[in-house]
């Protein structure tokens, strides 16, 4: 093959070698985004350049024609590859669909076919010849019609690619100057080369410089692509990011006018950027979104807003950040809106969960501290109702027999009329099916009452009568027994009960069941306590009585000692007086002595009284009738009572059995009560009534002495049985009467008590045990043979042998 050397072919060779090198270089880094388009481009450039080099270097026409045709393997797909690369490079990847690529590639394919079949139709080249006029032989030809078609088409694609590149250059912001410069070189080089090639300037008229332009472009772009990571961070890619990002973005200049915005922003505003750009932010954004109420001067800020459009409410996170130029001057502000619907939804779910747990803890703590369980239940029903969004919540209790239910507690949302009063004593027949379910521990869940199955006619009717549209109920077990149910209901529209509603209701019923259990246990304890309390009080009163007895005994000893001491002087006085009365003749002295004697007698009687109180003689019990004893006393007093205008009424129970008692002692007791009553009445109002009644209560004979006297003040009542306690004037009473009565009744194993209301009257009551006839009496006991020994011990008598019989 002939070969000629010339500098033009050398230029092509350089371009070819560089582009092949680039192909290899790119191939090794083909994973870089956009690398494949770049690879395709550089392969076309390489084919074109090498073809051109061979064409220029060869001498024969047919060889030249072959290489010319060969070049078109690169020339015809190059515009497509360039355009593809430019689109990728400037962030328009989405434009590159398979369909579009094929459409764009049809014309270059036709060109390729026509080039290789030119001999048959000459549509591409009309007349091909070898021109030897120039410095070296060149292939020249007249261009056929398709040549021009292809040329125009190619330049159209190339120009569009260049346009994209240049646009990207101008869009790039300052931090990306270098990358932008690369873009500029990459765009301008093919342009310049093409222009050169079309001009008639020597030496370019002889050759096509276009592939060289692409080679330069390729070098620049490779540098940018691989060394500056152009595609990763290119401004154009940033554009793409910004355009594609879901967050809305507005750029405002210092005059608060919108200077840039992304499609997401257009979407929010519902207006295309063309209508918005250049408008004051306050007009555009504020009117549409209501963002800028007081945001005119916000430099940095973050807040959450809700944008309402038609039926939807979308929550956004609003970020405002100042944008600064390199010199530190504020260039404007960036306003970002991020749709936080999902986050909000998650927040809502978390809040719901928190609310749920709060409700449970409220219910639990409310029902744990049961000061008033009803109040706690009402509060719990309210909490559940509010949480679940139901219109009503309620508690129904089954009656003991399990035949009826009562609505015991309910909570109604605002505007819902309470109907608890209508839901009382309902026959379980109206909810038979439910009760069965609940007994098994199951839940009654009705989302829509209108869709209830046929088998539950009663229940459906029950709910429909109340206008309930959906219903949820869980069993309430107390001590493992179904006691009722708690539930939720809706009345306006069917509501989908949630798992949380159910869980809450379940928890509530558990806690409530526990609370009832505790409550009942507490009641049982309280009852037991009350019984204990009663027992304790009885014990206390017995103890008090014992103490009273002890006191009596102690006082008895004292009194008997003192009384005995008094007896001697009393006897000496009375004896002396009696002696004096014999020999004193003076009348005045006799009178004095008489006075002295009667006073001595009085003193004697007081001492005698004291001694009879102190004397611990056991009663001489006989089988007697209490009624007769009372009647004998009344007979004794009837004259006095008449005189004092006191009406005595007796109601004596005929059926009263006889009992063992000391007739005389009881007489003394009854007499004491009657006389006390007489005196009280006489002092208070001069006339009055005494009512005496007897009756049998259990094993006791009860005797009441009721008067309408002045009553006994509380503080007096407490001490009334104490010895020497008296309210009477000095000399009128020893204060022993009631003590003696007390002692006597005690000796009879009976009880004595007093009830009194000041101004109304007093009731003394005696309870005597009914005891059967006993044959052993006190005196018989004395006959007991051991008694002498006991006496000896008691009296500490020495040497008493002679009186043993």
């Amino acid at each position: 093959m002939d070969w000629q050397y010339n500098q033009y072919s050398l230029l092509s060779l350089v371009a070819g070698v560089i582009s092949i090198t680039l192909v290899v270089y790119i191939w090794q880094r083909r994973s870089t985004p956009g690398a494949l388009a770049f690879l395709a481009l550089m392969m076309t450039v390489a084919v074109w350049s090498m073809g051109s080099f061979m064409e220029l270097g060869s001498t024969g026409l047919s060889t030249k024609i072959f290489w010319a045709r060969f070049q078109y393997l690169g020339v015809s797909p190059l515009p497509v590859a360039w355009l593809g690369f430019a689109l990728l490079y400037t962030g328009r990847k989405k434009w590159l669909t398979r369909r579009k690529i094929i459409a764009v590639s049809i014309l270059p394919l036709i060109t390729l076919v026509l080039v290789w079949t030119n001999d048959h139709h000459h549509l591409f080249w009309q007349d091909i010849r070898l021109d030897s006029i120039g410095p070296f032989p060149m292939m020249v030809s007249d261009h056929g019609i398709w040549f021009w078609v292809n040329l125009v088409y190619s330049y159209l694609l190339i120009s569009f690619g260049i346009f994209c590149m240049i646009q990207a250059y101008f869009r790039a912001s300052s931090p990306y100057r270098t990358q932008a410069s690369v873009l500029l070189v990459g765009a301008i080089a093919p342009l310049a080369a093409s222009l050169l090639s079309l001009s008639d300037i020597e030496p370019f008229a002889f050759m096509d410089t276009t592939p060289f332009g692409f080679t330069v472009s390729g070098l620049a772009l490779a540098w940018g692509l691989f060394l500056l990571r152009l595609l990763d961070v290119v401004p154009v890619a940033r554009d793409s990011v910004i355009n594609n990002m879901p967050d809305a973005m507005f750029v405002l200049n210092t005059l608060n006018r919108v200077v840039d915005m992304n499609p997401a922003a257009e979407k929010i505003l519902g207006q295309p950027a063309s209508e918005v750009l250049g408008q004051p932010a306050s007009q555009v954004i504020e009117e549409n979104l209501g963002l800028f109420d007081d945001a005119e001067n916000i430099v940095y800020g973050r807040s959450e807003i809700v944008v309402t459009s038609e039926n939807t409410q979308v929550p956004y996170e609003l970020n405002v950040a100042a944008v600064f130029e390199e010199n530190g001057r504020q260039a404007g502000r960036l306003v970002m809106l991020r749709d936080i619907t999902d986050r909000k939804r998650a927040d809502t779910a978390i809040n719901h969960r928190i609310e749920f747990e709060k409700t449970i803890s409220t219910i639990s703590s409310r029902l744990v501290g049961i000061a008033d369980i009803n109040e706690a239940i009402d509060d719990s029903l309210k909490s559940i109702g509010i949480f679940s969004g139901a219109r009503q919540s309620h508690l129904f209790f089954l009656n003991e027999e399990g035949t009826h239910v009562d609505n015991t507690h309910e909570w109604c949302a605002d505007g819902v009329l309470p109907n608890i009063s209508e839901l009382q004593n309902l026959n379980v027949i109206s909810m038979m099916y439910w009760i069965k379910l609940l007994r098994e521990g199951q839940v009654v869940t009705i989302f829509d009452v209108s869709e209830m199955p046929d088998g539950t006619q009663n229940e459906k009717q029950f709910l429909e009568q109340q206008g309930i549209t959906s219903f949820l109920a869980v069993p309430l077990f107390v001590e493992q027994k179904l006691e009722g149910f708690i539930g939720l209901e809706n009345i306006d529209n069917p509501k989908g009960w949630t798992a949380a509603d159910l869980l809450l209701l379940r928890t509530c019923s558990d806690v409530m069941g526990n609370a009832f259990e505790r409550n009942r246990a507490e009641n049982r304890i309280r009852d037991a306590n009350r019984e204990l309390q009663t027992a304790l009080e009885q014990l206390k009163s017995s103890q008090a009585q014992l103490m009273q007895s002890d006191k009596l005994a102690a006082i008895g000893q004292l009194v008997s000692g003192v009384a005995h001491e008094l007896n001697n002087p009393l006897m000496a006085i009375s004896g002396t007086v009696e002696l004096m009365q014999v020999y004193v003749n003076d009348d005045l002295a006799k009178e004095d002595l008489q006075n002295l004697h009667s006073n001595t007698m009085r003193a004697t009687s007081i001492v005698s009284n004291l001694l009879s109180f102190a004397r611990k003689s056991e009663p001489e019990k006989k089988y007697i009738s209490i009624n007769e004893t009372i009647e004998s006393v009344i007979r004794l007093r009837s004259y006095e009572l008449n005189l004092d205008d006191i009406e005595l009424v007796e109601y004596l129970d005929d059926t009263l059995p006889n009992t063992m008692a000391d007739f005389q002692q009881l007489q003394q007791v009854f007499l004491n009560f009657i006389i006390n009553a007489e005196q009280a009445i006489k002092e208070a109002h001069g006339k009055g009534k005494i009512f005496i009644q007897t009756r049998l209560t259990g094993d006791y004979v009860r005797i009441d002495f009721i008067d309408d006297g002045p009553g006994i003040p509380h503080e007096v009542k407490a001490r009334i049985f104490e010895p020497f306690f008296t309210t009477k004037d000095v000399g009128k009473g020893t204060g022993l009467g009631l003590s003696i009565c007390y002692g006597i009744i005690q000796e009879h194993n009976g009880q004595i008590s007093v009830e009194s209301a000041v101004g109304k009257g007093t009731t003394f009551s005696i309870e005597l045990p009914v005891t059967g006839k006993s044959t052993v009496t006190y005196h018989e006991k004395l006959e007991n043979s051991n008694f002498d020994d006991q006496l000896d011990r008691i009296l500490n008598v020495q040497g008493g042998d002679e009186w043993h019989e």
């Binding site: 008094l566 007896n567 001697n568 009393l570 004896g575 004395l782 006496l791 008598v797 002679e802």
Partner: protein, 141 residues
């Protein structure tokens, strides 16, 4: 034996006033009255001469009345003793009776009561000091 011997009465009481009152009353009534201020003195005086009646107090210092009663009765089984005491105790009463006191008088009692009793005992019922004789217990009214 025309001369009627005055009946002798021993009054035993630690209380001077009682002794004096009873002694004076009975002396005026025509009895020969000797007094003793305690049990020891009473036993001593009783051994020197015989008494028709003894008034014996129970609560006295030293030898008490019941002991004195035992001693008197052991030395002079036929002696008539009237117990005169301020002590109200059925047990004392029982013991006194078992040791054959002929009466049990409770202080205070009227002088006329005592005189009446002594008169009855020493004038109309001369020999009722024997065992199983009537026991008179002066009850207060």
């Amino acid at each position: 034996m025309a001369r009627v011997r005055k009946k002798a009465i021993l009054v035993v009481d630690d209380d001077f006033s009682i002794r004096e009152v009873i002694a004076r009353a009975l002396t005026e009534e025509g009895y020969n009255v000797v007094t003793a201020k305690d049990g020891t003195e009473a036993v001593k005086k009783a051994s020197r001469r015989s008494f028709d009646l003894v008034f014996l107090d129970i609560s006295m210092p030293g030898q008490n009345g019941l002991e004195t009663l035992s001693k008197l009765k052991s030395k002079h089984p036929s002696i008539n003793v009237v117990v005169l005491t301020a002590v109200r105790d059925a047990a004392y009463e029982m013991v006194a009776m078992r040791r054959h006191a002929i009466a049990y008088l409770r202080k205070p009692c009227g002088i006329d009561e005592i005189i009446e009793m002594v008169n009855k005992m020493l004038k109309s019922r001369r020999s009722n000091q024997k065992k199983g004789g009537a026991i008179a217990v002066a009850e207060e009214s």
